[in-house]
Amino acid sequence: MLGTALLLLVALLAVSVPVAAVMGVLGLALNQFFSSIPLYLAMGDIVWNASSEYILIAIPMFVMLGEILLRSGIAHRVYAAIATWLSWLPGGLMHANIGTCAMFAATSGSSVATAATVGVVALPQVKIRGYDESLFLGTLAAGGTLGILIPPSINFILYGLLTQTSVPRLYLAGMIPGLLLTGFFMAIILVYCLVWPAKGGTPVETSWRDRLRSLKDLSGPLFIFGVVVGSIYAGWATPTEAASMGVFAALVLAAWERALSWPMIRAVFEGTMRTTAMIMLIIIAAQFLNFVLANIGVTDGVAKAIDALGLGKVGTMLLLIVFYLILGCFMETISMMILTTPFVFPIVVGLGWDPIWWGIVLTILIEAALVTPPVGLNLYVVQSLRGTGAIADVIRGALPFVASMLGLILLLMAFPDIALGLPRWVMGGS
């Protein structure tokens, strides 16, 4: 039965049936052939539940928040501000790319939006200052992935919902790994540019006066971060409410910037709903598929099969990491998370790994999936912003950063407190 399910899944994906339809059709087929229960009849309730799940409302909220911010014109100024602080380092503006990505990550729950925002501002500098193009592109594709590790994060909210873990804890747990990864990315640039100074381009001249003057340009993102993340820890709002307040705050900011107009708002609506509806159809179909899989016993079966391998705590974890790296080459990230979590989470927790810790590791694996070919959305985003040349340049440039993500995962395996220390310190308990 598991074999048939897998075969059908691969076949439908191979003929490029939409991912949501693959899950739905697979669910219907498995129900038809392997279940004595008319599970199809439950579909209406499942669809309504997923559609009206309050916690999922964070998805459109973060997408809309990003859309509004993008159009309020602060991206250029933030980039310029961060550049004045970081561009003296060997590698120049590439550090600003990473720094700006981290800054936008702190306001945005999405990685694609982060890469797109920073990419569009940064790319003209490649030619002007003579950077190594491949590495420069890599910093943008990889830097963008920080969007889901540094809070706020759509992935954490979804993971919290799927596994009944605390989103504020996940947010806190993501912070230090997020900053560490930012540091790793910069270290990679530093090492490359020290070994091959030509990759680093012409240095950028700045003064302390510029630096201090630029600080006010960072106030916009800090304000949003304060609303979306600060309000949770200040006891004002739950993570879902905070995401909604972020939209409100972004709207206020956009009004302040005099960036509001009807065409702009219509475009925000369209962009938000295109992404939201696409993700939601996948979630709806995945919920039905998961319902069928649980009922016909596949979910238990997979857990038992992996258990039977007897690889132990570390061995199984390494196997899972390899599994996600391979899956991540081919799969869209949200579906990857929803489809695998019901199987994988019980295994991971059963082995004694911490649920919050796994949420962080899984998110880093999803970051890797965003920049591994052939299906890696951030690669495409950067390539398209660039307009010319081969996508291989972007892929090559992003690879060293993927290596650092794996490094971070191994580090987290050895020292789980890198993730778990902060939430324990702030919130107490486990």
Partner: protein, 203 residues
């Protein structure tokens, strides 16, 4: 057929605009509750429920637009290697797969909507909203989605019979990576040429 398709695309776009407006409204409602809870003596409650209904309806009204703009994610590892004719066949298989899912959803969503309407069932929350109210527009969104799916299928099928692979691709094909990202960025208000990069900067 062409007029019908264009008309459907316009309706779908309006659906997405309305959907976006509902999400924004949800954000405002939730924000008002949070602020009232913090600043006022009383907590006005129930924004979570209202926001959830706005979310459900806003999403279902936007599904057709995603289809009309070829936004439902498809894996194109194999597809990318094929010629236009085989691609067109893949596209038709894909839309049939989607149609099966949407048909099933319409069937079952319709059943629970009618059940709640007939029973006069209310939500089991302090607001006690009759469930048929949010479910009627929610269901309508899926019906629109089904209609556009069927139209897309028919338009592609007719084109395939004529040997017009271009129209099949333009209706239900996988957007090339370039097209896809341009669409994504276009919707973010970002031009894809380096020199005209524009995030709507002011000042």
């Amino acid at each position: 057929m062409e007029r019908l398709w264009r008309g459907a695309s316009v309706v779908a776009l309006w659906g997405a605009w309305a959907g976006g407006a509902m999400i924004l409204l949800a954000a405002v409602v939730v924000t008002v509750e949070v602020i009232s809870r913090k600043l006022l003596a009383f907590a006005f409650s129930g924004s979570d429920e209202i926001a959830a209904y706005l979310f459900a309806v806003g999403t279902s009204w936007s599904l057709a637009h995603v289809l009309a703009t070829r936004g439902h994610v498809r894996i194109d590892v194999l597809y990318g290697q094929l010629g236009p004719r085989v691609r067109a066949l893949f596209d038709l298989v894909a839309i049939v797969g989607l149609a099966i899912l949407v048909l099933a959803i319409v069937d079952r969503a319709g059943e629970i909507f009618l059940d709640n309407l007939a029973g006069g069932n209310r939500s089991n929350t302090p607001l006690r909203i009759p469930l048929a109210w949010p479910q009627a527009p929610w269901f309508a969104g899926f019906v629109l989605f089904l209609a556009v799916t069927v139209l897309a299928f028919l338009r592609s099928l007719l084109a395939l019979v004529r040997g017009d692979y271009g129209t099949v691709a333009a209706t239900i094909g996988v957007p090339s990576q370039d097209e896809e990202v341009k669409g994504e960025l276009g919707s973010l208000g970002i031009g894809t040429s380096n020199t005209t990069a524009n995030t709507g900067a002011k000042r």
